[in-house]
C-alpha cells in the first residue's frame, strides 16, 4: 500500500468510529444535550476535556512555534500558560460552577448578577471568543485534509462539517463527550509515537521528556548544548535562554494564557458533566494529566526537530548540503508553499542563516515541524498516516466543544432564559439542535471564506476570555459584594480595553487596512505585545467592577445567600 492509501484507511477508520459513537450516544433531553446528563466519570471527563482543549493549534502549530518563531525558551509562555490555567480552573472556578449546577456560563453570570443585561453581555463575549476560535479549527480541518489526503480544501472542510454535524446535532454534549474520549486516544498516540521514535534516534532514550535532557547518540554532548552551539554558529540566538521580547512580556503573556484558559466557556462547561463539585476538582486534575502528556512532549519535539532540520541542512559546520541532493521531503513540502529555497549566492549549496540577506531557506513555516517531522526522521508511512488522523481528531474535538458552547448559549441563555421563558423542554431540545446545526453551517461558511481576523484567533479568544469572562466568574464566587452594575461595567471595560489595544496594533477585526491611530506607531504598553494583553484587560475589569460596586447598592439577600451556598460542596 502506498502512503495515500494508508492515510485514507487510518483516517477513514477513525471517522467511522466517531460516527458509531454518535449513533450510540444520542441525547434525549436538554439535560443530556447540554451536560451529558451530569453523570460522566471524572477521569473520562478529564480525557474528554483534554481533547476539547487541545486544538489544531496545540497539535500542529505549538511545537513549531516553540522550536522556530519563539526560538526555544521564549515558547515556554505557551507551555506554562496553557497548563497553569488548569490550577486556577480547579481551585477558583470549576467546582463552584458545578455546585451551582446549571447548563451554561452566561447562565451563572446572569443569575449571580441578577440581570438579563449581564447574561446578554456574557453571551456576547462567549460568542465572540468561541466563533473566532472555531474558525481556526475549521481551517485546520481543511488544511489537514488537503495536505494529507490530497483533496482540495473545500472537500476536506465539507467532510469535517458532516462528521461534526452528525455527532454534535444528534448527541449534543453526550455525543461530544464520548467522541472526544476516542479523539483523545487517536491524537495522543499520533503525537507521542513519532516523538518516541525521534528521541530514540537522537538520544537512545525512548522517553522524549528525558531524551531532551540527554546526550546525543554516540557522544557525550548534551542535545540542548549541541542545539545552542549550532544556532549560535549560524547566527541565531541561543535556544535555551532567548526571551520572547522581554521578561515583563513573558510574564504578561503567560498570565494572559493562564487566566484565558480558566475563562474559556467551552472548557468550563465540560466540568458541568460530572456528578458533583469534588468530582470537578478531580476531573481538572486528570484533564491536566492528559494534557501534560502532550505538553511535556511538545518541547522535546520542538528541540529535536529543530536540531534535525539544522543538521540535515548543514551536516558539518560550514559544509551545507548541496541543493540538488536535497531529501525528498524538501521537495514535497516546497509544493505546498510551506518551504521555499533560493540560492542567493549561486554556489549550489543551501545556507540557512539568521541574517536575512544571506539566508537561502527563505520560507520555513512553523507547522512543518510537526507535519513533516516523521518524514524528516524517516519514519514508516503508517506513522505519517497517524499524524494526519491525529491532527483531524484535535481539530474536530475542539470544534465540537466550541459549537456546543455557542449553541447552548443561544438556545438556553437567549431563548429559554431571556426571550422565550415559556418554551417547553421538547421545544428547547429542538431549538438547541437547530442552533447547533446553524452553528456548524456558520462555522463552515467562515472556514470557506476566512475573514481577515482568522489569523489572530489565539490573541482574540484568549484576550476576550481573560478580560471579560474570567474576572466576572471569579468575583461572582469570591465576593458577595460585587453588584450587577459593577460586573457589567467591569466586563465591558475589560473587553473594551483589550479590543482597543489589539485592534490598534493589528487593525479592526485584524484587517490591517483598518488600523487606527496609526501615528501612534507600534508603541507597546510597557513592551507588552498585543497577544499578551488579556491580563491587563483583566486587571481593568477587576478594578472597575470593584470601584463601581462600592458606589452601587449591595446585591439583594437571595444573591448573597446563593454565593454562600455555592461555596459549600
Amino acid at each position: 500500500m502506498d502512503l495515500a492509501q494508508i492515510t485514507y484507511l487510518v483516517v477513514g477508520c477513525s471517522f467511522a468510529l466517531y460516527i458509531v459513537i454518535a449513533i450510540w450516544a444520542r441525547a434525549d433531553s436538554t439535560q443530556e444535550f447540554y451536560v451529558a446528563g451530569g453523570g460522566i466519570n471524572p477521569v473520562a471527563n478529564g480525557m474528554a476535556t483534554a481533547a476539547d482543549w487541545m486544538s489544531a493549534a496545540s497539535f500542529i502549530s505549538m511545537a513549531g512555534l516553540i522550536g522556530m518563531s519563539y526560538n526555544g525558551y521564549g515558547g515556554s509562555v505557551f507551555l506554562m500558560g496553557w497548563t497553569g490555567g488548569y490550577v486556577i480552573l480547579a481551585m477558583l472556578v470549576a467546582p463552584y460552577l458545578r455546585k451551582y449546577g446549571k447548563f451554561t456560563v452566561p447562565e451563572f453570570i446572569g443569575d449571580r448578577y441578577y440581570s438579563d443585561a449581564a447574561r446578554v453581555v456574557a453571551v456576547l463575549c462567549l460568542v465572540l471568543c468561541s466563533v473566532t476560535y472555531v474558525i481556526g479549527q475549521m481551517k485546520g480541518i481543511g488544511v489537514a485534509f488537503s495536505r494529507f489526503l490530497e483533496t482540495d480544501y473545500e472537500t476536506g472542510l465539507y467532510t469535517g462539517m458532516v462528521i461534526v454535524f452528525f455527532y454534535a446535532v444528534l448527541g449534543g454534549m453526550k455525543g461530544i463527550t464520548y467522541t472526544q474520549i476516542a479523539q483523545y486516544v487517536v491524537l495522543i498516540t499520533a503525537y507521542t509515537v513519532p516523538a518516541i521514535f525521534i528521541s530514540l534516534q537522537l538520544t537512545g532514550n525512548p522517553i522524549p521528556q528525558l531524551g531532551l535532557g540527554s546526550t546525543l547518540q554516540g557522544g557525550d554532548t548534551y542535545l540542548l548544548d549541541k542545539l545552542d552551539q549550532i544556532l549560535l554558529d549560524t547566527g541565531f540566538k541561543e535556544y535555551t535562554t532567548t526571551l520572547r521580547y522581554s521578561t515583563l512580556n513573558m510574564v504578561a503573556f503567560t498570565a494572559s494564557l493562564m487566566i484565558g484558559t480558566a475563562g474559556l466557556p467551552h472548557v468550563i462547561i465540560r466540568f458541568f458533566t460530572v456528578p458533583k463539585a469534588s468530582d470537578a476538582r478531580r476531573s481538572a486534575g486528570w484533564a491536566l494529566v492528559f494534557i501534560a502528556i502532550l505538553y511535556t512532549t511538545a518541547p522535546a519535539v520542538a528541540a529535536m526537530a529543530r536540531l534535525n532540520i539544522m543538521q540535515t541542512i548543514e551536516p558539518a559546520p560550514n559544509a551545507p548540503m548541496t541543493i540538488a541532493d536535497r531529501p525528498e521531503w524538501f521537495k514535497t513540502w516546497e509544493q505546498t508553499g510551506l518551504l521555499a529555497i533560493e540560492d542567493k549566492n549561486g554556489d549550489g549549496k543551501l545556507q540557512y542563516r539568521a541574517n536575512p540577506t544571506e539566508n537561502e531557506l527563505v520560507t520555513l513555516d512553523n507547522d512543518i515541524l510537526v507535519l513533516a517531522n516523521p518524514e524528516i526522521a524517516r519514519l514508516p508511512n503508517w506513522v505519517i498516516a497517524l499524524v494526519a488522523a491525529g491532527g483531524l481528531a484535535a481539530a474536530l474535538s475542539t470544534a465540537a466543544g466550541l459549537l456546543l458552547a455557542i449553541s447552548s448559549a443561544i438556545s438556553h441563555d437567549l431563548l429559554k432564559r431571556t426571550f422565550m421563558p415559556s418554551i417547553s423542554e421538547r421545544g428547547e431540545l429542538n431549538a438547541s439542535r437547530g442552533a447547533m446545526a446553524l452553528a456548524v453551517f456558520g462555522a463552515g461558511y467562515l472556514g470557506l471564506n476566512p475573514p481577515g481576523f482568522a489569523a489572530g484567533t489565539v490573541a482574540l479568544a484568549f484576550g476576550l476570555a481573560a478580560s471579560s469572562i474570567f474576572p466576572a466568574l471569579v468575583m461572582g464566587i469570591f465576593s458577595t459584594r460585587i453588584t450587577r452594575e459593577g460586573a457589567i461595567a467591569g466586563m465591558l471595560c475589560g473587553l473594551g480595553v483589550t479590543l482597543f489595544y489589539v485592534f490598534q496594533h493589528k487593525g479592526i477585526m485584524f484587517v490591517s487596512d483598518w488600523r487606527y491611530l496609526t501615528d501612534w506607531g507600534e508603541r507597546w504598553f510597557f513592551g507588552i505585545e498585543p497577544n499578551a494583553f488579556g491580563c491587563v484587560g483583566a486587571l481593568v475589569n477587576f478594578s472597575v467592577a470593584y470601584l463601581v460596586s462600592r458606589i452601587t447598592q449591595a446585591p439583594p439577600d437571595p444573591i448573597q445567600r446563593l454565593v454562600e451556598e455555592i461555596r459549600l460542596p
Binding site: 525558551y73 481551585m91 548534551y222
Partner: protein
C-alpha cells in the same frame, strides 16, 4: 447531612481559602519566579542536559501543577469529611 451553622460555614470557607492561597503561592513560584524571573540564576545549575531554569519553564512547572491539583483534591476531601459534607 446536617446543615452547618453560619460559624461553621465561615470556618469551612476560611480553611478552603487558606489552602488555596498556599497552593497558589507554589503555583506562582514554579512558573513566574522559577520559570521566568529567576531563570538566569537557575540556569547556572545543571540538571543533566537541562539548565534548571529552562527545565522549570518547559517541564518542571507542569509536573508541579499536576501535583498541586491532586494535593488540593485530597485536602478538600479531608476538609469535607471533617465538616460532614462528604456524604451524598
Amino acid at each position: 447531612m446536617t446543615p452547618l451553622t453560619p460559624a461553621q460555614r465561615a470556618a469551612y470557607w476560611q480553611r478552603n481559602r487558606n489552602l488555596m492561597m498556599k497552593l497558589m503561592v507554589i503555583w506562582f513560584l514554579v512558573s513566574f519566579i522559577f520559570g521566568i524571573l529567576l531563570v538566569d540564576q537557575l540556569n547556572l545549575i545543571r540538571w543533566g542536559g537541562y539548565k534548571l531554569g529552562f527545565w522549570f519553564a518547559q517541564q518542571g512547572s507542569i509536573y508541579v501543577f499536576i501535583a498541586l491539583i491532586f494535593y488540593y483534591v485530597r485536602a478538600m476531601r479531608k476538609l469535607d469529611k471533617e465538616f460532614g459534607l462528604d456524604a451524598e
